[in-house]
Amino acid sequence: MHIADLSKGMLGANGIVGGGPPLAWGAALAAKKLGTRGVAVSFVGDGGANQGTTLESLNLASIWALPCMFVVENNGYAEATSCKYAGACHDFADRASGFNMPGVTIDGHDFFAVYEAAGEAILRAREGGGPSLIECKVNRYFGHFEGDAQRYRAPDEVKGIREKSDCITNFAARVSANGLVDLAELERIDREVTALVDDAATQAKAATKPVAQDLLTDVYVSY
């Protein structure tokens, strides 16, 4: 869950709902002060969108015109509660106007819609136009945790989504129908990625277990 890759500027997935947006506008502040032309991107779900930290971050990013993009991945469920119950707005993107920033709601299953909306927001942020809010309407295939029976969902809900709205299937169909990418090429990429992931899992499982002194590693830089 808590993946991070600082070498790529990826500050980590967060175990605290709404923990990320303040970090993102902080990263945007750093980019602005350091003149890196970097743009910070923060991802929350429809649950995190209702945290004070998220709303406070939208406000701050806006008043300081920070190079920042806030993404709400709205999959309809915060844990076991519907966003229709938990959110007072129809679309989370509607909240953007209250913070004086552009906000759009797009189909999050559509690769091209995401690419275009994100590209526009990143370009605007990089040119000093301040933050944007993008709400991606998506779905989730799995429960909130391993073993979540998901009885709060309608029967066959996931099946229907998988059949009609799978982002990767739809992407493959669209690019191959247009002759942009050969299906065989996509299959080759799939095999390559699967091998990469399998290899990483095998290596991780075969790796040496940590030892007692690792308990006190990385708590501080110096102590």
Binding site: M1, G48, A86, L215
Partner: protein
């Protein structure tokens, strides 16, 4: 042999009985029912581990799912308590206190004092804590020392199904803000629990085991770790007196001092991080008020000063176990000045 319930059933029963007894009692929290606004079943979760399952079905809109907005709904529980309700609000994991702590320590804990004793805020914050579930650094902490530090809050850390029910009923009927800590590894623990409602007063420790050689003071899940160590030590001829604090605020100073005055030797076992925790607090108490009775230096057993690790190997090393407790007791028992 009386009726047996699990720790989580005992909590569920206490909540159900208090909801039935007092119409001012309401429940709030993330997915305390689960399923609100969805096309599927309502009361689908009853909390992430099913502790409040079935209460929505019995009590309807007095059991309220909330958005993931801890500052707002914990704060709302404090406001509602001050305005006449008796809310029991769930902070799913105590680690999430970071999101809402202002409302707890600057509002709930201070209102009565700052308003000249005119405010009464009878709320209970139920929260899950503790290591051992491979839930990593942001879902495994034992933060009760931080709450214990704050005047105006009462802190309860039950160790058995019996205590969980009696202390929770007491917490709901108490007129002060109470933080009620439930160790996630205790939920499945079975124990005798009377069906009729009962209360256990705050500030009264439980003598789990009596002995003359060494006092072990502890709380929460560590009571069972200490029990296991005490059983091993008894076989070696070392008799431990095991004191379960049950509440850290108020703290039953008398029981701790009485036991140490008898044994002259103290081990304090605490699952919380070692700096400024309950072990240091109890040690300071004994150092100050029972120094003359001590025959050996006080020993504190706590995890190392590091976040709770995700790795199973490291987490097992992190949590104090019967072996580490027994070793500390042997050292104390064998100490010669």
């Amino acid at each position: 042999m009386g009726r047996t319930l699990s720790f989580q059933q005992a909590i569920n029963e206490a909540l159900a009985q208090e909801l039935a007894r007092d119409p001012r009692v309401v429940l709030m929290g993330e997915d305390v029912a689960g399923g609100s606004g969805t096309d599927g079943e309502m009361d689908a979760w009853g909390g992430p581990l099913g502790v409040t399952k079935g209460l929505w079905s019995k009590f309807g809109d007095r059991v309220m799912d909330t958005p993931i907005s801890e500052s707002a709904f914990i704060g709302a529980a404090i406001g509602a308590a001050t305005a006449g309700l008796r809310p029991v609000v769930e902070l799913m994991f105590v680690d999430f206190m970071g999101v809402c702590f202002d409302q707890i320590f600057n509002q709930a804990a201070k209102l009565r004092y700052m308003f000249g004793g005119k405010a009464v805020s009878p709320l209970v914050i139920r929260t899950m804590f503790g290591a051992g579930l491979r839930a990593a650094a942001q879902h495994s902490q034992c933060l009760y020392p931080i709450f214990t530090h704050v005047p105006g809050l009462k802190c309860v850390v039950p160790s058995t199904p019996y205590d969980a029910k009696g202390l929770l009923v007491q917490a709901i009927r108490d007129d002060d803000p109470v933080v009620f800590f439930e160790h996630k590894l205790l939920y499945s623990m079975q124990g005798e629990v009377p069906e009729d409602s009962y209360t256990i007063p705050f500030g009264e420790a439980n003598f789990v085991r009596e002995g003359d050689d060494v006092t072990i003071v502890t709380l929460g899940r560590m009571v069972h770790v200490a029990s296991q160590a005490a059983a091993e030590l008894a076989a070696e001829g070392v008799e431990c007196e095991l004191v379960d604090l049950r509440t850290t605020s108020p703290l039953d100073e008398d029981s701790v001092l009485e036991s140490v005055e008898k044994t002259g030797r103290l081990v304090v076992l605490d699952e919380a991080s070692p700096r400024c925790n309950i072990a240091t607090d109890v040690s300071a108490l004994v150092g100050q008020k029972a120094f003359g009775s001590l025959k050996a230096p006080i020993r504190m057993v706590s995890p190392p000063h590091t976040p709770v690790p995700f790795s199973d190997v490291l987490e097992d090393l992190y949590i104090p176990n019967a072996g580490t407790v027994a070793a500390a007791v042997r050292e104390t028992a064998g100490y010669k000045a």
